[in-house]
């Protein structure tokens, strides 16, 4: 019954061919997703018991974190240093940097706290590019319609309309920060097509778009008067007497102390959740993508959206094992690369939306047309040799990062296909925001992947980099304009009392502490270097 074969056997059978028959797909997108997309796994979602989204569906691993106990209590803050600023930005990726730069330029005093180093983020890893409708046959209206449709009509129309209308100005702002794009011989921006869209709209710099963006934004921040606190993850938000967000508590990983940062506005830009490894999927995400901002915002009462909707990128590397989950850019499919099953046949329109293509891959593997490595890895072919036959030299010219990945795998992409399998890539939902990035909690903004409502239940390539810069800039400008207010009289973490009361009343376990901060593999929770930031059986151990 099963045509599943081993990697070695499949490789022996594989013949590079320029042309192959298009796929005949038997299921509609809706049916395909329902049967094979991980969001629809039987036990994937639970109902939230406490907090602003009580009663809503949420992925069970994320629910555990949203309903976890806090890492700190009042006693931890006794004697903690306090710092004051107008605007506190939490997160040092593209969204955080854009927000900080715009707010600082508008004259606000800005402090940016980041868990690792400035620029350590998913932004730096983005490959595909950034969407902006600038081709003559394309319009913001078409960009809007593509985005809404790809999100299965669940996106917030107002947010999407604002984002697509900002897009050309966003590209200009990036160029003014010193970012380069690939240009044609006339100096025009070159554009490629995202899966599931109707025009060439993705601007890019090789397959290093995110790296180019991030090194430029980092340099821009470092050459400004923005105060940067690195190795400083936020562990709790602060509020004033009326519940307005009034800053955050950060834990300083260098000297293992807590610090209170009083601010008139807080902008959370902490990114997504890939390193929670939902449903045990590998991830393309950065080491720091542990969903901290979601937890902080939820505890202070911010409403969330679509917490059961995640993106699995179709082309994660499946072999060799130590690189599993590494991302292969959608640009390669956009350039015309086919996906093949163990029979050497195409099984999906490769330029369909990501959720569709991923589900189709999972279907092939489930129905025994996958290629197996040992007992625990399976995947399908990404037919780069076919692309090389149709477009000699294109891979080398346009995809230097992919070429590097091939070298690391000891695979010559021009003659040997890569084994791929979907990888956990993006959180479609997140904190509900308005067009200025404001959450439902006053004084609290959320921008970038941590926010929700823009991409509906599926995001298209190039809309993430656009989202982070567009809403980062909007939040920065809005926060700066509204940050000239008298300081807060009293700031506290009193919201944790009601959290703990609610958890107890709902009979929720209190062992789990959140936010997660670091992936399990890093063993942060038993790293003796950080004892100062932890409690042991209720008794705090002091180091130094």
């Amino acid at each position: 019954m099963s045509n599943a074969i081993s990697y070695d056997e499949a490789l022996k059978n594989y013949q590079p061919m320029a042309q192959r028959e298009p796929a005949v797909e038997e299921l509609s997108t809706e049916e395909l997703l329902k049967q094979y997309h991980p969001d629809h796994y039987d036990d994937a979602a639970v109902t939230l018991q406490v907090g602003p989204n009580r009663g809503d569906s949420c992925h069970k691993q994320l629910a555990d974190m949203l309903q976890a106990d806090a890492r700190i209590d009042e006693a931890d803050l006794a004697g903690a240093k306090t710092r004051k600023t107008d605007i506190l930005v939490i997160g040092g990726g593209g969204a955080g940097c854009a927000a900080a730069l715009v707010a600082a330029k508008a004259g606000a005093r800005v402090t940016l706290a980041t868990k690792l180093r400035l620029g350590d983020s998913n932004t730096v890893m983005a490959e595909g590019g950034i969407q902006a409708s600038i081709e003559k046959d394309d319009t913001p209206q078409v960009h809007y319609e593509d985005t809404i449709k790809a999100g299965h009509f669940q996106g917030n129309k107002n947010l999407v309309a604002n984002m697509v209308s900002d897009a050309p100005e966003v590209i200009r702002w990036l160029i003014q920060q010193g970012m380069q794009f690939d240009l044609d011989k006339f100096g025009d921006i070159m554009l490629r097509r995202a899966g599931g869209t109707s025009a060439d709209r993705v601007a890019y710099y090789r397959d290093y778009t995110g790296l180019e963006m991030m090194r430029v934004l980092r340099e821009s921040v470092m050459n400004s008067n923005i105060e940067v606190l690195d190795y400083s993850p936020a562990v709790e938000l602060l509020a004033n007497q009326s519940g307005r967000c009034a800053g955050a508590v950060i834990s300083n990983l260098k000297d293992c102390t807590y610090e209170l940062i009083r601010a008139n506005a807080v902008i959370i830009a902490t990114g997504g959740i890939g390193r929670m490894h939902l449903n045990d999927f590998p991830t393309s995400n950065h080491f720091g993508a542990t969903g901290d901002g979601l937890v902080l915002a939820y505890r202070l009462g911010a409403k969330m959206l679509d917490l059961d909707s995640f993106q699995y990128h179709p082309t994660g590397l499946a072999h060799p094992h130590h690189l599993a989950g590494s991302l292969i850019t959608e640009g390669i499919r956009s350039a015309g690369t086919y996906l093949l099953n163990s029979e050497g046949k195409r099984f999906v329109d490769e330029l369909q939306t990501r959720d569709h293509v991923s589900s189709a891959i999972l279907k092939e593997c489930a129905e025994g047309r996958g290629i197996h490595v040992g007992d625990d890895s399976v995947g399908v072919w990404l037919d780069t040799p076919g692309l090389e036959l149709r477009n000699p030299g294109l891979i080398e010219q346009r995809f230097p990062k992919l070429l590097q990945l091939g070298k690391k795998c000891n695979i010559n992409l021009a003659t040997t296909p890569l084994l791929i399998y979907p990888t956990l890539h993006y959180q479609n939902g997140g904190v509900q925001i308005d067009e200025n990035g404001q959450s439902t909690v006053r004084g609290l903004y959320c921008v970038g992947e941590v926010s929700g409502g823009i991409h509906g239940r599926n995001r298209i390539m190039g809309n993430a980099l656009l989202d982070i810069i567009c809403f980062g800039r909007r939040a920065g400008a809005h926060a700066a304009e509204n940050s000239r207010r008298p300081g807060h009289k009293k700031i506290s973490i009193e919201h944790l009392s009601s959290l703990r009361r609610n958890l107890t009343m709902s009979k929720m376990p209190m062992e789990q502490k959140g936010p997660m901060l670091f992936p399990e593999c890093a063993k942060f929770e038993n790293d003796s270097d950080y004892d100062g930031l932890r409690k042991h059986r209720g008794k705090k151990i002091h180091t130094t």
Binding site: L116, R117, G119, D120, V124, M125, A132, I134, K136, T139, P140, Q141, Y144, K157, A161, S165, P168, I171, R172, Q176, Q177, G178, M179, Q180, F181, L183, F186, G187, D188, I189, Y208, L211, R215, V216, R218, E219, M222, N223, Y231, L253, H286, F287, P320, H321, H322, A324, L327, G374, D375, D376, S377, P400, Q404, A522, K523, F524, N526, D527, D529, Y530
Partner: protein
């Protein structure tokens, strides 16, 4: 997930002897052996520049620089993770350069040390991306910023070359300056400019379809 049975190799990382499969990177090896590792970890794909290591291979006296996530274990290898250096002292603001005729003047004001390059090759040798760093610095010093910037396409700002430079040139920042001025003064795409102009006139407004 289980790995296939592999011969383990013995390596020394930060002074700790570790036995681990050779298919692991130096970071994965620490985790595999049960040692925590939080700092100096980033994208794990070789583009963030966080995991700076010094490596000495068995039977060799040579010490090389590398990225920890990109370096697989080899028998007898010695590895030390390096802390990230303090930021460079060079500061500049693109908006304060009056026009593209003044870029070279501004460059020498911001990076006065660049002309002192003694061609020691420390930067090239320390670069984990095999960038021709010193050649880039020389081009930038002559005002050939576009060419200089092209050499730094792969630069992940790991700052190894900055650490290696005895003249405190901060070569990676020279490379990034070269790239940024090229975009800031010379990227003028007519397709983008035309679209901005049309939109400035109030055309191409998005109509939100109400259900």
């Amino acid at each position: 997930m289980e790995t296939q049975i592999e011969q383990l190799v013995t390596v020394t990382i930060n002074g700790k002897e570790i036995k681990a499969p050779p298919s692991l990177s130096t970071i994965q090896a620490l985790w595999y052996a049960g040692y925590p590792r939080v700092q100096s970890v980033g994208c794990l794909e070789g583009v963030c520049g966080s995991c700076r290591i010094m490596v000495r291979r068995a039977e060799s006296t040579e010490v090389t620089m590398a990225l920890g996530c990109q370096t697989l274990l080899e028998e007898g290898m010695e590895v030390n993770f390096l802390v990230f250096p303090t930021p460079t002292h060079h500061t500049y603001n693109l908006a304060e350069i009056p026009n593209s005729w003044e870029v070279q003047t501004e460059f020498h004001r911001v990076f006065p040390e660049a002309v002192n390059c003694r061609v020691c090759n420390g930067c090239n040798k320390s670069c984990p991306k095999e960038i021709q760093v010193k050649e880039g610095v020389a081009l930038a010093s002559k005002g050939r910023f576009q060419e200089a910037g092209e050499l730094f396409v792969e630069c992940v700002m790991c700052n190894f070359c900055m650490t290696a430079c005895p003249e405190y040139i901060a070569p990676n920042h020279v490379g990034l300056f070269s790239r940024r001025v090229t975009a800031y003064f010379h990227t003028r795409p007519s397709n983008l400019i035309n679209r901005l102009e049309v939109m400035r006139k109030g055309e191409l407004k998005v109509e939100i379809d109400q259900d």
